[in-house]
């Protein structure tokens, strides 16, 4: 029996879709069977982040409206053999096209076949959020180290607790070690202290994510990228392994320094 994990945030644009794509990728690399379920109806993005946008025939609403069977709508990601599938959101409908009950039935059905169902939640606290959390066993709340994002994360954590969500864990995205070092960005302890919630991982700000998104190849596939490493660690923690947080500041090796000097980013 699989587990349904909803990736949510409150504030928009903090990295839910990036997290869903990379966590799914990293879990699939470890041979878990994964479905990425895009619940952001009307604003679907997970397909392009994964580079699967040209393969969509049916979508989530087609499944719940019984236009097609679930199997027909699942897009297999060929990079991972039989380990990673995407169920895309409908692009031309709105959040009310699906009900929480339908989502629950759908995730139940997926749980029978897969180890992990990762639900990419829309921003906000309205119906799209209600739908996305309705079948979930646990939640990962994504935030950035900013006042507005942390505040909204607090609200979401409150709502998740009120809805009796199982485990709720926090992912801090876009940490910038240099800014933390000079005291201009809240660090991990500050945020955990304020939100009083378990941490599942920290992902640094990383240019590789932009490049990866351009290409449709999640950074978790790139063994040299810092963010990819962070997501692979998070995937292991999600499966119950104890993995220490990686040091924020990369030991800048000679090659990295030369690359940096030559302007290849950091």
């Amino acid at each position: 029996m699989g587990e349904v994990i909803v990736i949510t945030s409150g504030k928009g644009g903090v990295g839910k879709t990036t997290t869903a794509a990379n966590l799914g990728t990293a879990l699939a690399l470890n041979e878990h069977r994964v479905v990425l379920l895009d619940a952001d109806i009307g604003l679907r993005n997970l397909d392009v982040v994964m580079g699967l946008e040209n393969r969509i025939v049916y979508d989530l609403v087609d499944v719940t409206a019984k236009v097609c069977r679930l199997k027909q709508a699942l897009i297999r990601d060929k990079r991972f053999n039989e380990h990673l599938f995407l169920l895309p959101a409908a692009q031309t409908r709105d959040k009310t096209a699906v009900t929480p009950e339908e989502m629950k039935d759908l995730t139940e059905e997926l749980k029978a076949e897969f180890d992990f169902i990762l639900v990419d939640c829309p921003a906000g606290i309205e119906q799209g959020f209600r739908n996305a959390i309705s079948g979930a066993d646990r939640a990962i709340v994504v935030t950035t180290p900013e006042v507005s994002a942390v505040r909204d994360a607090d609200r979401i954590i409150g709502l998740l607790e009120a809805s009796e969500m199982g485990e709720v864990q926090l992912l801090i995205n876009r940490i910038r070690p240099r800014m933390v070092k000079r005291g201009d960005m809240m660090d991990i302890d500050d945020i955990i202290d304020i939100l009083a919630v378990d941490l599942v991982g920290v992902v640094p700000e990383d240019d590789c994510i932009v490049v990866a998104t351009n290409r449709g190849e999640p950074t978790a596939l790139d063994s040299t990228s810092r963010s990819g490493q962070a997501f692979r660690n998070i995937a292991r923690r999600v499966t119950g392994e104890q993995v220490p947080l990686m040091p924020l500041e990369a030991e800048e090796g000679l090659i990295a320094r030369v690359r940096h000097l030559l302007g290849f980013g950091s």
Binding site: V147, R151, D154, G158, G183, M186, D190, I194
Partner: protein, 91 residues
């Protein structure tokens, strides 16, 4: 002097993360204080239960509410006393 040193090293005020933390603390006190009427009712009942051990109060006149002040939030309870119990004096 410290000020000048601070300026020389490009640090003329508190690190901005301290400001962020303080603002966040306050905003969350306010956000979290928006509690449900049921919750307030629960607090009210428990407060009444405790206070009636020491004095007789007009339970119908009890009011419990949350007040937002600028830098903090307060739980305000008004408990009209009808009669003090003699035992209280002895304590």
């Amino acid at each position: 002097m410290l000020d000048i040193l601070g300026k020389v090293f490009g640090r003329d005020e508190a690190p901005s993360k301290e400001i962020a933390k303080e603002r966040l603390r306050l905003v969350l006190v306010h956000d979290r204080a928006t509690v449900s009427p049921q919750f307030l009712e629960l607090i009210k009942e428990e407060v009444i239960a405790v206070i009636t051990e020491y004095m007789e109060i007009d339970t119908d006149g009890v009011e419990v509410s949350i007040h937002s002040l600028e830098r903090s939030v307060a739980l305000v309870a008004s408990l009209p006393i009808k009669r003090m119990k003699r035992a209280v004096k002895a304590v």
